[in-house]
């Protein structure tokens, strides 16, 4: 099936399961086995703001499947600098490529691009909006390293402005996850989103302290508190560095706990935690490759 990939809300639970199961089949290729599934296909990557990790992960996925990648390059040196609209850029690039990966600083950019594009748009982040491929790789990591059924997860950090966490929480609600939201009071998840999640069947509780739940969860999902999302820098200073996962904190953790982080981290997870059996954030970044392979193959109608 060929389609745009814009928001997690466009996916049903069955579709998500399909993607996760197909990603499992792509894993050997992501590890180096060769494939020519997308041979002769061209992917265009348009990154209007830097995101090395996501871009490289898409490029890796495309190349491992035998396809090719063209890149817009930096915004400063491209047609964008001459004042070209996104709508025009999309229509031009759509003549060259079989699919477009788009990262843009404005919310809703991918949705608009999809209206103008004759080839599938894959949203790689639109401002503080959606980042569905991140959410899917997060789900895949949980599936591979823990379990998506009867799972207890704690989401830590900026749950107010961090809207990729909102996408993840939404997707987890489709799996009826038991969620604990851990954030300082001023960064709590907005009520309107919590209401939506409960409607989907999620069980939600809230606290301000990781220690309250560390002995009772299967997944600890840590996020960076992003300075750029704060309207007021003084507000950021009040909460910067408020959470720090250390080996000591993990003394009370369950044996099967996994710790995830979308990366890059700043100081939320102490480097000493990397050596523990709980750390999964590097595997998590690898899992981005088979998941993005699946999405590329879907978008280009190869599966």
């Amino acid at each position: 099936m060929s389609r745009h990939i814009i928001s997690m809300k466009d996916f049903s639970r069955d579709e998500i399961d399909f993607i996760l199961n197909r990603a499992r089949e792509f894993e050997p290729i992501a590890r180096g086995n060769t494939s020519s599934l997308l041979s002769g296909k061209i992917l265009a990557t348009l990154f209007y703001e830097p995101s090395t990790r996501t871009r490289l992960s898409f490029e890796t996925a495309m190349k491992r499947l035998g396809g090719d990648v063209i890149d817009l390059g930096s915004v400063e040196s491209s047609s964008v600098a001459k004042g070209e609209t996104l709508a025009d850029t999309i229509r031009v690039i759509g003549n060259y490529a079989d699919a477009i990966v788009l990262r843009h600083p404005r919310e809703g950019a991918a949705r608009m691009a999809a209206e103008y594009s004759k080839v599938p748009i894959i949203n790689a982040g639109d401002g503080a909006g959606h980042h569905p491929t991140q959410t899917l790789l997060d789900l895949y990591t949980i599936m591979r390293e823990s379990s998506l059924s009867d799972m207890k997860i704690a989401l830590v950090g900026d749950l107010k402005y961090g809207r990729t966490v909102h996408s993840l929480a939404y997707a987890l609600s489709l799996y009826h996850a038991d969620m604990t939201l851990i954030s300082p009071k001023q960064l709590q998840m907005p009520d309107v989103i919590k209401k939506d999640l409960k409607k989907q069947g999620a069980r939600i509780s809230e606290t301000t302290d990781i220690e309250d739940v560390i002995g009772d969860i299967d997944v600890l999902y840590v996020t960076r508190i992003q300075k750029e999302r704060f309207p007021d820098p003084a507000e950021y200073q009040k909460v910067a560095g408020i959470y720090r996962v250390t080996e000591e904190l993990l003394g009370k953790a369950r044996d099967n706990l996994i710790i995830m982080h979308p990366m890059p981290r700043v100081d939320e997870i102490d480097p000493s935690v990397d050596r523990t059996k709980y750390a999964r954030y590097f595997q998590q970044s690898f899992y981005g490759v088979p998941v993005r392979m699946t999405l590329l193959a879907m978008a280009m109608e190869a599966i």
Partner: protein, 165 residues
Amino acid sequence: MKKEEVEKRPAGSLKKEMLVRPIRQGTVIDHIRGGQALNVLKILGIYGTTEAVVSVAMNVPSKVLGSKDIVKVEGRELEQKEVDRISLIAPDATINIIRDFEVIEKYRVDLPERIDGVVKCKNPNCISNTLEPVISKFMVNKKPVELRCVYCEHVISEGIAEHLI
């Protein structure tokens, strides 16, 4: 056909009849939520310098709404786009089309499921608030009235009148 509520008042209430005098030809917008009449005028493009014959009644006691406003415009019938805009700020409003002092058509405004090019998204970082060739689009929730931007998904639930384009 049901006559307009204010017109049914006793003839002795001369002052009220003068305030909202019957019109020969045009449109009566009734059951506007109290306080929204001036926003309705704004939607209709009627400002202080208008030459149109316009009557406005504000805060008229109403059994259903508590208080309501009424706007009468002589010599004009509304376009669907105007009715859609009115429905956003006055979802209970009724539109009466008048010809020769008679109500020839009366209907309640109906909120559309989606509204395009009428409201500006309140999120300054939304793609619809840029130079891109894109018109605003909102999905409409009827009760309570809430607009969700198709692009950035921000919700406008209060002060919709302030965001009208």
